[in-house]
């Protein structure tokens, strides 16, 4: 059976549906101590003193420590992506010592015999804070107006990063159509269902750190760098990990501190985050203000695009904080041809939780901007939004195509995906219904939104990362061990947390080695088991790690071929390998199975001269290019013009992710991606009040949609293989999220177009929709505009103490 392309049910599922899982918090070693962190209730304050005397007296309390206690050993949390030479990277102690800069920053911790005792003792710690000004508004912060986040830097600006290509002056000069917009990418909280958790077990001078992380390998190296504990003394295990979406692509202070506590106390030390703690302290995503200028000709052809970004870094630069908006720099042009492009991004410090990767990481923001602008352009020219895209996109016969942003898109077929999506969506029928509702002045209006997106993923070619000043490469590693019994162990450096590697990797290995799927076991997520890796993020696992596995399998077959030839007394060039068996070409009855060859290698009685007794192999793959999945998404939204409520009526997603290893998994990734992208469009927003308090600390206020809030999706695929890897695969993990946000907002705006609305800020909450509509109607009637609602209320800010 051909495994690659088959909808294999997942091998991972059995332990997950029975509760026999190994989440970090499920690991309960004898004698483990529990840590609770006291967190700043102030957005910005100087720590004048911390009194832990009473807390230390509480029953069951083993230690109470402050930032000052860790100061000599805690180092500074790393930023691995200094995007410019003159970037300002402030010191970031895992536990604050002198100053706190966001609500939730840790200032002290209690280590106790159980979690209840630890949390109780937190209330006995007395911290004397001298409040400093909160810096909440990015546009004010950039003026230095209202105080500095880091006094010593003398500015709130971390960096300015610029990219320019083409003659922008020429493109803008006398352009018949110029569209200027300001879009806000609201701050989001990634909200993996499993909160973070860390357990560090000391064994002599060695430490095993279990963490709900996406990046065990990077984390190990960074822990060694930060703490100066030698790398080979640290083992990092990512056991079952309950989702990440970028939020667990991080080196967190709690990870460093648990390691230091385990060293200090000589006992296993565990910390498990609560949701309200996590909303404040697990890094956030998005948060950009985009100023955009698009120039076009009357026929709709784009001449140039100017992008000016403010990107909120939060209080510190974490692992890849500054690089996130820069990833978007290459995507604002989308699938379109244009003559000139310029991109300027300023990274701004505020007294808020640091931002970093969240599903899509820079590309959703860019895709949103260009796909919203394409709809605006269509309106400006009175063209159908599909038509204006057609006039600008790269035609399928033009690939490979070097874009204005300097990337080479290797393959794609935007026409095919769009045609398929239009047919599934019944586009013309919905347009007719829309016209009818407009005609009837129906209180519920229908809008249709389009998003013809692409994205760059499969992070990443190491030379490109190098040119962008990233601190590491983008390769991935795989090893294949064929055991004496013929069973196969695959080791991958990619670290899954829901993506289904154990299934998909086994499918690849089964095909390449000609062994049954059931005979392959995939090992991952433990630096002692999988010694090399770059982990999982940026839709890279299959397009980089899967290819490494593919190559490692071929190496195994090559080694085995040599031994098989020896055993068959034939030339290697005369052997063919099919269905797990070597045979002499044209004499199929003469052959050796892989298992027989491996058994012979294990016995080592009769090996070719110089051959080691093993056919095992490993491979490291470094892609030459990104992969560029693309697709056409169409959304129909009903907007209640009386209440502002938006209901999605239908959603069609046709994605082209190249060759597919497991269509079941691919479809699931698209579904989940859509849900998160739709959630940004309609529901989710991390809200800070003027004092810098996060008011959406619980799931009662940060609105993650449930099944009842989302529509049934219609998904389909076109298949244009990637040319940059032998599997022909592209990444799929982020595509749905990247594509869907603009499709939904375009639909909402389209519904309200007749009233003079040309934008609704995200999330398009009922009140925002209602206000936008009212203001547009008021403007039409010559009245002034109202104000947007402020923050506050609900369970709201539950304070910094946890």
């Amino acid at each position: 059976m051909t495994e690659v392309g088959a909808p294999r049910k997942r091998s991972e599922d059995d332990r997950l549906v029975t509760g026999r899982t190994r989440w970090t918090d499920n690991i309960q070693p004898q004698g483990a101590l529990h840590v609770a962190f006291l967190r700043s209730p102030h957005a910005h304050a100087r720590i004048e003193g911390v009194d832990v005397t009473e807390a230390r007296r509480r029953p069951g309390v083993v230690a109470v420590l402050t930032g000052a206690d860790f100061a000599a050993e805690q180092g500074s949390l790393p930023c691995a992506w200094p995007v410019t030479e003159d970037i300002r990277i402030p010191d970031h102690p895992p536990m604050a010592v002198e100053e706190v800069r966001y609500v939730g920053e840790p200032v002290a911790c209690v280590v106790a015999r159980d979690r209840y005792a630890a949390v109780d003792a937190l209330e006995e710690i007395d911290v004397d804070y001298a409040p400093l000004p909160a810096v909440v508004d990015m546009e004010r912060a950039v003026q230095g107006d209202g105080g500095l986040v880091h006094e010593s830097l003398g500015t709130n600006e971390s960096f300015t990063w610029v990219f320019e290509n083409g003659d922008m002056d020429a493109a803008m000069r006398d352009a018949p159509v110029v569209i200027e917009r300001r879009y806000v990418q609201q701050r989001l909280i990634p909200t993996a269902m499993e909160p973070r958790a860390v357990l560090c077990v000391p064994e002599g001078d060695d430490f095993t750190l279990y963490s709900a992380t996406q990046i065990p390998h990077i984390l190990r190296l960074m822990l060694a760098v930060v703490t100066e504990i030698p790398e080979h003394r640290i083992r990092v295990v990512a056991p079952d990990v309950g989702g990440g979406f970028g939020s667990k692509l991080q080196v967190y202070g709690e990870e460093v501190l648990c390691l230091l506590l385990a060293r200090r106390l000589g006992r296993p030390v565990k910390w498990t985050e609560s949701r309200s703690e996590g909303n404040m302290t697990t890094h956030h995503g998005r948060d950009q203000i985009q100023r955009l200028t698009l120039a076009a000709d009357r026929d709709g052809r784009i001449r140039g695009l100017k992008v000016d970004l403010l990107a909120d870094m939060g209080a510190y630069l974490m692992l890849v904080t500054p690089g996130i908006p820069i990833l978007g720099a290459f995507m604002f042009n989308g699938i379109y041809k244009m003559d000139a492009y310029s991109f300027t991004c300023r990274g701004i410090f505020t007294t808020k939780t640091p931002t970093d990767a969240y599903r899509g990481a820079g590309r959703p923001e860019a895709t949103y901007a260009i796909e919203r602008l394409m709809d605006e352009l269509a309106v400006e020219l009175d063209l159908d939004p599909i038509e204006v895209r057609r006039r600008n996109w790269i035609r399928h016969e033009e690939f490979p195509y070097e874009t204005i942003a300097g990337l080479t898109y290797d393959s794609g077929n935007y026409e095919a995906a769009t045609d398929k999506a239009l047919a599934l969506f019944e586009y013309d029928k919905l347009r007719a219904e829309q016209a009818d509702r407009r005609e009837r002045n129906d209180p519920v209006q229908l809008g249709i939104g389009t998003s013809t997106f692409t994205e760059m993923c499969g992070l990443a070619p190491s030379r490109v990362l190098g040119s962008l000043s990233y601190g590491a490469g983008g390769w991935e590693h795989a090893a294949v061990r064929v055991l004496p019994s013929g069973k196969v162990e695959v080791v991958t450096g990619s670290s899954p947390h829901g993506q289904g590697h154990e299934t998909a990797w086994a499918q690849i290995a089964a095909d390449r080695l000609g062994v049954p799927f059931e005979d392959v076991k995939v090992l991952h997520g433990d630096t002692a088991v999988s010694p090399k890796g770059m982990d999982t993020y940026g839709s890279r696992s299959l397009a980089v790690g899967g290819v490494a596995l593919y190559n490692a399998c071929d190496k195994v077959v090559d080694k085995a071929r040599r031994l098989a030839a020896h055993l068959l007394e034939a030339g290697e060039q005369d052997l063919e390998f099919s269905g797990g068996r070597f045979s002499v070409r044209g004499v199929s009855e003469e052959g050796r199975t892989l298992q027989e060859v491996v058994t012979a290698a294990f016995a080592a009685h009769d090996l070719p001269d110089g051959m080691e007794p093993s056919v095992d192999a490993d491979a490291t793959f470094d892609p030459e290019n990104f992969s560029f999945p693309h697709g056409t998404h169409l959304c129909a939204a009903e907007v209640d013009t009386e209440t502002g409520m938006v209901r999605l009526r239908s959603y069609v997603a046709v994605d082209d992710v190249g060759k597919v290893v497991n269509p079941l998994i691919v479809e699931g990734q698209v579904h989940g991606g859509l849900a998160q992208g739709i959630a940004q469009a309609l529901y989710e927003e991390a809200v800070y009040d003027a004092e810098g308090n996060l008011t959406t600390t619980t799931m009662a206020d940060y609105l993650v949609p449930s099944a009842a809030d989302l529509p049934e999706f219609t998904t389909d695929r076109t298949e244009t293989p990637a040319t940059s890897n032998p599997l022909g695969v592209k990444g799929v993990g982020e595509a749905g999220t990247i594509a869907s946000t603009p499709a939904v907002v375009n639909a909402v705006v389209d519904a309200l177009r007749p009233f003079g609305v040309d934008d609704v800020p995200m999330p398009c909450s009922p009140e925002r929709v209602w206000r936008t509509l009212r203001d547009a109607r008021g403007k039409a009637a010559g009245q002034g505009s109202g104000t947007q609602p402020g923050a506050g209320g609900g369970l709201g800010s539950v304070g910094g103490a946890q």
């Binding site: 009386e642 209440t643 709201g796």
Partner: protein, 285 residues
Amino acid sequence: MIPAQFEYVRPSSLDEAVTALAEAGEDAKVLAGGQSLMPLLRLRLAYPDALVDLDRIDALREIRDEGDALVIGAMATHHQVFRDPLVNEHAPLIVEATATVADPAVRHRGTFGGSMAHADPAADLPAVAVALDAVFLARSVRGERAIPAAEFFVDWMTSALEPDELLTGVRVPKLGPGWGVHYEKFRRTAQAWSIVGVACALRRDDGAVAEARIGLTNMGPVPVRASAAEDAIRGRPATAEAFREAAGAAAEGASPPTDLHGSAEYREHLARVLTARAMAAAAAV
């Protein structure tokens, strides 16, 4: 997160319960279904010295027919109320509103009386009680008293119950023939609290509206009656247009909050729109 320490008492009769509550003092709290209280305890937004758990007092779960009214025991769960034949027959507005409370698991534990005594203006059932002129039955070691709905909700999260008083049940007048009901709930996601909710019972006589009772959720620190709208619709024909006109007065006298999910101004607007819709649905127009 984890609750702070408290004492725990689990009386097995009503008498024991009121005694326990009296002894526990001012900083004790009654534990009914716990579905609102537990999150507050876990977030350490509430620090009671003691919890008096009513879970094992079966008498408090009874729903009984008292002629022209039903008495719904304070500890009847939402799940129980929703399925109860008496409530379905005589107080369908409660059934409709109950179906929108939180989610099935919460409705299994959460109680009718707990939701009332918690006095959260964003909760759905208090507005229903106000609309129906329900009467709250309280008991303490000092005796029993009946508190009309209009006096029961005193302020934000504050009921008229004294610290030593238990809510034992709620007397709900039966709606006779000719009444239609509807609970119109407006929220951003299925699990989110109501931005505004409208509880409406409406009696038609021929083609006209003889009487309407309208309670509003989350339109102030306490659930409020939309009396001006009730007056405006009385005697008018049961048409969508008349409902819209009358609903123009729905927010009169309300003082809605501004919070994360809606401003006061927006809530006033919603109250008008949703009241018209609730009346139309109740009248089956």
